[in-house]
Subunit: 702 residues, 2 copies
């Protein structure tokens, strides 16, 4: 049963008016006690009903022996009873008309054992039959900071902190959800909601993301992801976020062997390949964070700063050394640190004779002598309107008397001057100054490189948001040839040709004399290959001869090949495929695959040894347009090899992009059990591309 | 004048018994006032003498009208007068017998103007003549925390903080030196000394590093570097640090265009190429930090943690999600996260039935129910002796009652159990707990990935320290052929051959008939190239024909070539070099260069389009052994292309390493004005290498 929940509105889960806690305990050191304590101590505005079969009162609240005894409606039930009692609890919920449950209990699918899996399936079906949405099992619940609603045992939620947050967090790891709240409090960052999804029997991460996208009070979505269960829904959630211009910052773990091992055991699901995930996130403009710190820092930046209109950064420092560091970091992240005009340089030199004025602008130790210098210099620099963003490093000056006032005023002036410009301050500021700078529309960073990294994320995410499908043309191939049970190379080439991609002149021949005739028709030089559905890796067994220049050559090569293959035990070895030898300026590989997790996938890389030894291939998920295919081409590390070289023209990248886009659209027209179509090599020419070989794989039924 | 200072002992600078401040001011908001204030307020144990021509007393201290009036010896003079008075101040110093000066004044070489450069040269010569060591000019001075000696105007040094630090910092940027101290105070990190070198007219960064290496109280050296002035000394300082097993963490900025522009204007020096620097640092096991945060985090780790004996990391978490993140990060950094034995797994399962036991070990939310669980589990895990290091993520538990005590005890027990094992805690700890954990021999991190990154740095630095020159064989080539003023390809190949590297069978021929005779002697197929010192890029002008298979082919090719070249205006176009056509399994490029900054340099990369389009080349500085050459080979991104592929053997990497090592040693035996020797391609075979072409460049004199 793979049907998802009945309603896609998660409000019942995230914004309930009343909660019941099944398994509420009087002992605040036990899970059932922690849940109740967290639910009532934070000032939730709705009702909280403890359910406890043996006590009339729990933690000072009237308790009910069973859910059905509660005299009012219950929107959400939090289930904190041992695994074997969860099924009954859900039955109680259906009787009571509860709309959603949070199952904190563990011991289900994540154990990897049959008993756990079966019970998880049973409670899921029970919930579905009664239209109940379920978070978990094996999760740490959720918290809605606006309504002060906590449905979690995690001790981090004993104190809720600020309620004005606009950063939403969804985490497959329960412990991380709690830890993130704890860290947010330490860092002065405020969340709007935290949802942990655990085993995701019903509610999966993509549905939570979609819900968060639709919440106008959410500025940015942070996601901690270990494994993707439903690739198509996940991709769709990312696409919707992009269309709504809502940034996502994601920690995606489980890329290493130990990480995959741990993620699999931790949530009971398998991870999709790292390269596939990388392609999917790139495609939808998702910001990938490699550390918790980066997750928070980028989340903070997206919450505080507008999207800059240009990659040009102005860097103003009190330390020339930090200026160089910031310039390097900005350039590394594909931002631009443009040199100043000579007029602006002269104006700065007038203010500070020893200043560095190349951008980065170094105001030197003079800022200690003149507290107004920073503002004066920046006013001058703002005359130059080319900048999309500004980084201001104040060094230790903020600690000097009078500087705080001036910095806050500078931030306000800058924001008034440039409403769409990220204003990033770098320095150690006390809480009050930080709040003032933020209120004025700036963001504050301690580590210099975080300020530039954030600007790069803002700018590149904006670029991704601005990408629209650039063409109305939608590739579709209603007339693809019907493929036999075991498709041969000739079948593959016919398929590729029908998909609108040029293939090498070729023909098949049965018998040695026929091979000679066919070769003569095609024209020399030719390649001769054995043509048998039995033999897929032809060159490994001696089934390929290249560069044959005459009929006699073809005849003797064909005879030798048959003899050799038959002596190796291959039966049908006198059928051949003959193709013209063609020279190009480079070999690439393109492939269509049906991935178990992510669905239809298109792959591109440089051919032969590059793809095999360097794994220099990139992926996209679903149908893509040519603009996206061009981005794929540029993502391959060996991409410069496709450009014009000394004495050699460049490849026809437009036709290459066209071929990749066509491949991405193959899925709809192919039999469902065709699992991959691969062209290797796809030869590049100065004017077009040509498929030299094609391999079609069908799932072996059984 | 490039001779360095007379003595290499910087004690007079770093550890003076008495300081005079020339330009001491009564106004603590002026540079000269700040210097004096910083010098006296921090409790320096030595004498401080203000020099001020117009006041008998400055900031409550007796002042002297001139240096010579000071009745006692002065070890160090801090010069804080305008640039035009610095020369006189140094004259005063020589009269007084001062041993070292710190020149804080700016306006010298860093301005890029002749006046500044000339004055800098003049004060340098004045100091040298009298044996005075000089720090600066245009620096922020220095601080010695042990003797509480501050010779800096930077406001960060108003408060010195802890005196027990073992981390030394040298910075070319003055402002960064001050900022670093300010940050250290914020982070609870303690320095032993901070030295800023500014324009480095006399004392350069390498001499400061050497001094710090020799200080037994220094555990790790942090360095902020913009440009390297004397490459040989710099490389020697790095080598000495490695031999002394003293780790260096370096921020090297100025790699981007804007960064290079800024660094050049900031210190008035040119930057060596980023790839060269990367090679030099890799060669000496220097840890490169890409952010200030990383500089501090790694410095802290080297100060606190021992070098682990194995790359195996044990990861124990309170959050499975963080465990997966840590595993990914460890694997990404070439550490190993080995799976546990089945006995150990079973023992952990007994403690926590739902634990993740694959390493990372996830103790789950059960740690909230049992405060002794972490210690019990780790005791069990320590039965397995394979681990070189341990990361313990405690989540929010440290904030729970009773956990602090237990963590501190756990740290002490672990340290007693494994004296050489990094013990890295991850979590938010208050200052007291952090101090207790550190006192027990552990290190504490907030960001999880910093704990694994630090272990990787510790382990890989230990590996670099353990590298000894693996061979006594020292390449030397006393019998290299004398090269003409404009060496030809034949001269180059003869040189390469004399250096002990196999070259392709080749010979030169004058005239068309001679070319045919030579080709017949060598054996077909051959390559025919024009042989003229005038023509270096032969193939660009039609001076190369490949794959000639007969004497007739050679004759007509030679005639056509002469005709074509002479019609293009090349005079001497009937001399040829003929070589056998040889096929290998890959083409590489090796080169020897004399770099203006770093001296003799060896380069290796994959040949042809790889080197040109992908810039996939690596460098080393100075003579290297074959073990280092092997590391170079593995550093090239396309390295996997050299390994055995389907149906193709791998390259002879031993002979390739030998060739690289030989090239690295060419410098001693070549004329000084030979600036480069490049073999492109160096053909790789399954059994050996072969130089197909060689280009020798001589500096054009003039």
């Amino acid at each position: 049963m793979t049907t998802r929940g009945m309603t896609s509105d998660l409000s019942c889960l995230v914004d309930p008016a009343s909660i019941a806690i099944i398994g509420a305990s009087a002992d605040v050191n036990r899970i059932g006690g922690m849940v109740l304590d967290n639910a009532i101590r934070n000032g939730f505005e709705g009702e909280v009903f403890p359910i406890n079969p043996s006590r009339p009162e729990v933690q000072g609240r009237k308790a009910f022996p069973r859910l059905q005894a509660v005299p009012q409606d219950v929107d959400l039930a939090v289930i904190a009873v041992p695994m074997q009692h969860v099924h009954q609890a859900i039955k109680d919920c259906s009787e009571k008309g509860v709309k959603a449950v949070v199952v904190l209990s563990s011991g289900f699918g994540e154990t990897g054992e049959n008993a756990g899996r079966t019970t998880e399936q049973a409670i899921l079906e029970e919930a579905r039959v009664h239209g109940i949405r379920m978070l978990g099992p094996n999760c740490a619940g959720l918290a809605n900071f606006r309504s002060k609603m906590v449905a979690s045992f995690h001790p981090a939620f004993r104190h809720l902190g600020r309620q004005d947050g606009r950063i939403a967090l969804v985490s497959q790891s329960g412990a991380f959800g709690g830890l993130a709240h704890y860290e947010a409090c330490q860092r002065g960052v405020a969340f709007s909601s935290i949802v942990t999804t655990g085993n995701e029997a019903d509610v999966q991460i993509d549905e939570v993301i979609t819900h968060m996208v639709s919440d106008p009070e959410v500025s940015v979505i942070l996601a901690y992801v270990e494994s993707i269960r439903d690739g198509a829904s996940f991709a769709e959630a990312l696409r919707m976020a992009k269309e709504a211009r809502k940034p996502i910052v994601m920690v995606k773990v489980g890329d290493s062997e130990a990480g995959i091992r741990a993620a699999a055991s931790h949530t009971g699901a398998l991870a999709a390949g790292p390269s596939l995930i990388r392609g999917l996130l790139a495609q939808h403009g998702v910001n990938r964070a490699n550390s918790i710190e980066e997750l928070f820092s980028l989340g903070y930046a997206f919450d505080r700063s507008p999207i800059p209109a240009s990659p040009n950064v102005l860097i103003v420092t009190a330390s020339g050394g930090i200026g160089v560091l910031l310039s390097d970091d900005a350039a590394e992240r594909n931002l631009v640190v443009p040199e100043l005009s000579s007029e602006t340089k002269a104006a700065i030199k007038k203010l500070v004779p020893n200043a560095g004025v190349n951008n980065p602008v170094d105001l030197t130790g003079q800022i200690f002598n003149d507290p107004d210098l920073t503002s004066k210099a920046i006013n001058t620099l703002m005359g130059d309107r080319r900048f999309g963003s500004i980084v201001i490093q104040t060094g230790v000056t903020a600690a000097l008397p009078g500087f705080s006032e001036r910095l806050a005023k500078l931030a306000a002036d800058l924001r008034a001057h440039a409403p769409k410009m990220p204003i990033h301050f770098v320095g150690y500021y006390d809480d009050e100054l930080r709040r003032r700078l933020e209120a004025a529309g700036a963001a504050c960073f301690i580590e210099p490189t975080h300020a530039t990294r954030a600007i790069a994320a803002l700018y590149h995410t904006g670029q991704a948001f601005d990408r629209h499908r650039t063409e109305s043309r939608s590739y579709a191939f209603p007339g693809l040839p019907t493929l036999p049970g075991r498709p041969t190379e000739a079948d593959g080439l016919a398929l590729v040709s029908a998909a609108g991609i040029k293939v090498v002149p070729f023909a098949t021949a049965s018998g040695h004399q026929a091979a000679v005739r066919v070769a003569e028709e095609i024209g020399f030089p030719v390649a001769l290959k054995v043509h048998s559905p039995e033999i897929t890796h032809k060159s490994d067994v001696g089934g390929v001869r290249l560069g044959l220049t005459s009929g006699a050559d073809v005849l003797s090569a064909a005879r030798e090949m048959t003899e050799k293959l038959e002596s190796s035990g291959f039966a049908d070895s006198s059928s051949f495929i003959i193709s013209r030898m063609v020279k190009g300026i480079g070999e690439t590989i393109i492939g269509f695959q049906r991935d178990d997790v992510l669905g239809d996938v298109v792959m591109f890389g440089l051919g032969g040894i590059y793809a095999e030894a360097l794994r220099d291939v990139v992926f996209r998920v679903g149908k893509i347009d040519r603009a996206e295919a061009h981005r794929m081409i540029r993502e391959v590390k060996s991409y410069p090899l496709l450009l014009p070289q000394r004495g050699r023209p460049g490849a026809d990248l437009e036709m290459l992009a066209d071929a990749i886009a066509r491949f991405s659209a193959l899925g709809e027209s192919l039999d469902d059990d065709i699992t991959s179509v691969e062209v290797n090599p796809l030869l590049l020419m100065p004017d077009g591309v040509m498929a030299l070989d094609a391999l079609v794989t069908r799932r072996i039924s059984g």
